[in-house]
């Protein structure tokens, strides 16, 4: 059987090779055609045939108009906002007078601890006079962005005044407190840069960090060891240190906890690892330091070492708006690339003149700072033994922060308990206190609590009254 196969194969091969080696059978156009040329020609024809055929792709079937119509009809959107339940409607107390240390709420006079009026400038005569002058000269609004005839000479005067007060070359004004920090951060940090930020920063800083699209690393709240570890980790992993900008973002006095950042330690770390600092001094400008110049004055750090300082003026300076200061390069860069500065109307001129008057007042009366410090110390003392609440802020911070000793179970019940404490304190003892409110968009995980904003114009009796009221109400409501 095998032999027969071999024979058949041999004879077939002989037959094929005879054709291959056949002498020239034909001469076409002077070219002798050997047998193998025919086979090669057939091969070329087969290859060309395969190449010209379409390759197999699964057919693409785009949706027909009718199918799209059906899908559009079937689609049901979610409601724009979730259902509002009864307990979600919260009406804040309505003031009927200026937000000074004593205010009128619902016809009654209350002691006001909910306004960040640290130097007691609300209702100050000189500031009111300068505002009246500005209103009569310039009207209320400035009717234009800074680039298009919205720059009024009071803005330029205010910028120079603040720069001279702090000792920096130049400063730039923004028209709203929280828009300052979330415009400054994206102006300097772009995609690919590295930012190391404290995990307790408030929402505006978080929004700025998100909009900047840089890599953000958080370190534990006010923990210098954690900061050093993160800086070490980030520097080790970074590939091109000359091309990547690196920043540390901290607040001087944290709004969410009342802690103060240790600036000398941070400056030491920044110089070791070559980072730049962005410092938000909204609650410490006009409060810390011997002359109110902020955290750098308080810690004895020369102001040139801090690269970018921002602050909102809605706290100690009792006006509105914000500013940012630093070297000439830092300030000039913002005039064209900071979106909150370029694309928004400028600060109303009467607020700028109020800021100038407030800084003047602070320069002439530095004694108001020591009054503020004694008030904070008195309140701290009185509140150290409130049943159920514990003090969580720094002794020098004008935001006195009380948090619950033991949580009642869920976050919601905690908020309800604190709200009822504040409500009872207002209704029964006429003391207006604020609880921390967190937006659902806020990523900060620090505990909530009660916040008292101490002012230099609070009298001793006000402070004692507030402490007594809190002790009484807390004893009633916290079992």
């Amino acid at each position: 059987m095998a032999l027969a196969m071999v024979n058949v194969t041999a004879s077939v091969l002989n037959w094929v090779s005879s054709y291959f080696d056949a002498p020239t059978r034909a001469v076409v156009f002077g070219v002798p055609i050997d047998g193998h040329l025919v086979v090669e020609a057939l091969l070329v024809v087969v290859i060309l045939f395969q190449l010209t055929r379409k390759s197999y792709k699964p057919p693409k079937k785009p949706l027909t108009e009718k199918e799209i119509d059906e899908l559009c009809d079937d689609w049901v959107p979610e409601p724009l906002t979730p259902q509002i339940t009864e307990d979600m409607t919260y009406e804040p107390p309505t003031l009927e007078s200026a937000a000074g240390p004593h205010a009128i709420v619902n016809g009654k006079e209350v002691v006001n601890f909910a306004s960040a009026n640290y130097l007691g400038l609300v209702g100050n005569e000189k500031i009111t006079d300068s505002c009246v002058g500005a209103l009569e000269k310039y009207g209320v609004g400035s009717c234009g962005p800074r680039g298009f005839y919205g720059t009024i000479d009071v803005h330029l005067d205010c910028e120079q005044k603040i720069a001279k007060f702090l000792g920096t070359p130049d400063s730039i004004l923004y028209s709203y407190g929280i828009s300052t920090i979330f415009s400054v951060i994206p102006a300097f940090c772009k995609k690919g840069d590295i930012i190391v930020a404290d995990e307790g920063v408030h929402w505006a800083v978080q929004n700025g960090l998100y909009l900047s699209r840089s890599t953000v690393v958080y370190f534990k709240h006010n923990d210098m060891k954690s900061l050093e570890n993160k800086l070490e980790e980030v520097t080790r992993r970074s590939k091109h240190p000359e091309k990547v900008r690196r920043y540390i973002v901290v607040e001087a006095i944290y709004q969410n906890s009342g802690q103060i950042a240790p600036l000398d330690e941070i400056v030491r770390l920044k110089e070791k690892y070559r980072f730049r600092i962005i410092l938000d001094e909204s609650h410490s400008f006009g409060v810390l330091g011997n002359s109110g110049r902020g955290l750098a004055d308080h810690c004895g750090v020369p102001i040139e070492k801090i690269d970018i300082i921002t602050a909102g003026m809605g706290n100690a300076l009792a006006t509105d708006g914000g500013f940012c200061t630093g070297s000439v390069r830092v300030v000039d860069h913002q005039r064209l690339s900071s979106s909150g500065y370029v694309f928004s109307a400028s600060l109303p001129p009467y607020l700028a003149s109020a800021a100038i008057a407030a800084v003047d007042y602070l320069e002439e009366n530095p004694s108001v700072l020591s009054k503020l410090r004694t008030n904070i110390a008195t309140l701290f003392n009185e509140l150290s033994d409130v049943p159920g609440l514990v003090l969580a802020s720094h002794i020098l911070s004008p935001i006195v922060f009380l948090k619950l000793k033991k949580s009642t179970g869920t976050g919601k019940t905690d908020i309800d308990l604190l709200d009822s404490i504040a409500k009872q304190a207002l209704e029964e003892d006429s003391v207006l206190i604020a609880t921390t409110k967190r937006s659902s968009l806020d990523k900060c995980k620090l505990p909530i609590g009660l916040r008292l904003f101490v002012s230099a114009s609070h009298s001793e009796s006000d402070l004692l009254k507030a402490a007594a009221s809190l002790k009484r109400v807390a004893a009633l409501l916290i079992s």
Partner: protein, 489 residues
């Protein structure tokens, strides 16, 4: 629509090309000269690397004196512009004490409330004395005064919605509201020429963003159909919700949006609409209630209406008007309401008084007169400019008039020449507009009298001839046609 003549496009591209070449040359020489000087950055990366700020350094700084001109009086129809000089070729500018009185064609002062007003200013000063400059507190803590609640009710009544909420700044209103309404899994479709605050708010929300062609309702329908049918990218799950964001008057084009067509498309596909009336509230419409009144759209069809008080009311701040549920939800979640200082009480009083004047509730008809004046002024000015041969954008009744300049050299020429003749004009270039389409933007106000407008037209015509921007000259009537008619008779 912009009709760009071919020759102009060519010369503009050539001009920009020359500027870029010179800029790069100067950068090259700067690098060589700085090689020898020591680098004092010591291991820090520079604030701007490489060509990130090329446009600022080499193009913008040359014409820096046309922007950011300081003024020393109220931004009324005539104001004082402070003169500046420079010792180092426009790199730094210094103020002088001298001022020039100029006609103001640049400020957003549509109804003339910018300067001290006889009804508004006494009330503002009174509220200043009662409530002081600022409340130093957020709205939810202790910053809500009676004025704030009064203004919220008044705004809701004026705009025609059930409820409203106030914010201290218009830019923050957009940036902080959009993240509160929509998040990951949602879709935002915005007009291609929307303002930077809307773009920032959309980016900050985490939702997917798509763009539709400016004012093009059929293209919007096409984008909507495609997006609903395909769902979220890569997972193809259905979208949670879709919001379409449009503006009432676009500030760089002066055009009104095609509201009825766009609202019809949105209702058909069950998407939510967000209308930003920053420039149109108070300035257009029979009684000043904005584009809805002008174009005949029912306010109940638009889900959220946003506006600012800076332009027509001469104050600062913004508002959102919507149904009661949406406003209550926003008051609980919006970060700008929970964390930001509340609006300054004198500014609130200014808006209350201005709205009362516009509604006629102050007992006079000044409001109606102002509205009629601005409409008349805008239409007169626009038709005269078009007769002169300028290329003017924008619709009738809109108080914003951009005049196309195109060439980069004409921007400073036009601006400086007009300032010499005591007319203050705003010129806009890249990056607020596309690179080739630089323009001068005029904002008409109800405070401009007929003589002011005629003087402005004379100056603009003279300077326009000098600079060469009358791109579409109107043909004069041919005399032989008249003769032909006479012969037939």
């Amino acid at each position: 629509m912009v009709r760009l003549p071919y020759l102009t496009a060519l010369t503009t591209l050539l001009s920009y090309g020359i500027l870029f070449v010179f800029g790069h040359l100067r950068d090259f020489f700067r690098k060589i000269f700085d090689w020898s000087k020591s680098n004092n950055l010591q291991g820090y990366a520079p604030i701007c690397l490489g060509y990130e700020d090329f446009y600022t350094r080499r193009l913008y700084l040359r014409i820096q004196d046309c922007f950011g001109r300081p003024i020393s009086s109220a931004p009324d129809s005539w104001f004082d512009v402070v003169e500046r000089y420079s010792n180092d070729n426009n790199k730094t500018l210094h103020r002088t004490e001298k001022t020039t009185k100029c006609l103001n064609l640049g400020s957003y002062n549509y109804l003339g409330f910018a300067a001290a007003d006889e009804y508004c200013t006494p009330r503002v000063i009174e509220s200043l004395k009662q409530y002081s400059v600022s409340t130093c507190s957020t709205r939810v803590d202790g910053g809500t005064t009676k004025l704030h609640t009064e203004l919220e009710e008044l705004v809701a009544r004026f705009v025609g919605k059930p409820a409203a909420v106030l914010f201290g700044m218009g830019y923050v209103t957009n940036s902080a509201i959009i993240p509160a309404l929509i998040g990951k899994g949602g879709l935002i479709i915005s007009d291609s020429l929307n303002h930077n605050s809307i773009v920032n708010g959309a980016r900050g929300s985490g939702a997917t963003v798509r763009v539709f062609q400016h004012n093009n309702a059929p293209h919007l329908e096409e984008v909507l159909r495609e997006q609903i049918a395909h769902g979220q990218p890569r997972t193809h799950r259905p979208w949670k919700k879709i919001i379409v964001i449009i503006e009432g008057i676009y500030s760089m084009e002066g055009e009104l949006c095609k509201l009825p067509e766009i609202i019809a498309v949105c209702k058909k596909y069950k998407v939510y609409t967000y209308l930003d009336e920053a420039h149109s509230i108070g300035a257009v419409g029979q009684t000043g209630r904005g584009v809805c009144e002008l174009l005949g759209v029912d306010t109940a069809d638009i889900d959220i209406m946003m506006g600012t008080f800076t332009k027509s009311f001469g104050s600062c701040g913004g508002y959102i008007a919507a149904s009661k549920e949406i406003i209550q939800h926003l008051k609980r979640t919006c970060p700008a309401h929970l964390y930001a200082t509340s609006m300054s009480p004198p500014a609130v009083q200014q808006v209350i008084s201005a709205m009362k004047v516009i509604l006629g509730e102050d007992g006079t008809n000044r409001g109606a007169k102002k509205l009629a004046q601005i409409r008349e002024n805008s239409n007169f000015f626009r038709s005269e400019l078009q007769k002169m041969g300028f290329e003017v954008l924008g619709d009738n009744d809109s108080p914003i008039m951009p005049i196309m300049l195109y060439n980069p050299a004409k921007i400073p020429a036009f601006s400086r020449e007009c300032l010499h003749q005591n007319v203050a004009i705003v010129t806009v270039a890249f990056p607020a507009t596309p690179l080739l389409l630089a323009r001068a933007r005029i904002c008409i106000s109800a405070a401009h009298s007929r003589e002011d407008l005629i003087k402005a037209l004379e100056v603009i015509s003279k300077v326009g001839d000098l600079v060469g921007i009358k791109y579409f000259p109107v043909e004069p009537v041919k005399p032989n046609k008249v003769e032909h008619l006479k012969k037939i008779e």
